[in-house]
């Protein structure tokens, strides 16, 4: 499948605390096809190390993490 730079799904976890962002992204990525992008929005201050750990364990690709004000934008590409 061709890779796209547009997220196939955005998961809004703004205001949620650990472990909810991890649980939400784990549930959401099940519905994606391999190679599709998922964007997670989160304000949990621990999200950056959590997403590095989560993608390493699940073999999904951490495309990048940016911060816009208080909101982290985490881009993950589903593993093939």
């Amino acid at each position: 499948m061709a890779e796209s730079d547009t997220p196939a799904e955005v998961v809004d976890c703004v205001g949620m605390q650990c472990p909810l962002p991890v649980i939400k992204i784990a549930q959401a990525i099940k519905g994606l096809d391999a190679g599709q992008l998922l964007e997670l929005l989160a304000t949990d201050p621990g999200i950056e190390p959590d997403m590095h750990a989560w993608t390493r364990r699940t073999k999904n690709e951490l495309v990048g993490i940016t911060k816009d004000g208080e909101v982290f934008h985490v881009l993950v590409r589903k593993a093939g």
């Binding site: 472990p19 991890v22 649980i23 784990a26 989560w54 364990r57 699940t58």
Partner: protein
Amino acid sequence: MWTGEGEGKVLYVHTHGVDDPGRCATPFFLAAAAAASDCEVAIYFTMYGPTLLQTDVVDKIGPKGDRGQPLAYFIDQARGVGVRFLVCQPSLELNDLALEDLIDDVEMIGGAAFNDLAIEADAVVSF
């Protein structure tokens, strides 16, 4: 006892009970995070731990007392991502409980099974 279907195996051991509500929730949400990371996860409730699984308790206590979420919220969160709950008979007897007093789908194991799970696990985390 492990199915081997996960990318790793983590066994949590929960020894705290209803008399220490501040310590009741953390094992559940760490277990939930591990299960959401493609690990196979179980929590073994021993010593006072089984008291947390009583059907008439889970909605009445929480880590912050009357503030915040009740214990049932954390239990449901863990179960929602596939965390298994295990107890042993001596711990039930210690607390004058029977399996029927607990929430559904709690599995009974014994000491040999617990040790086998621990030896086969990639990590054992005890509280």
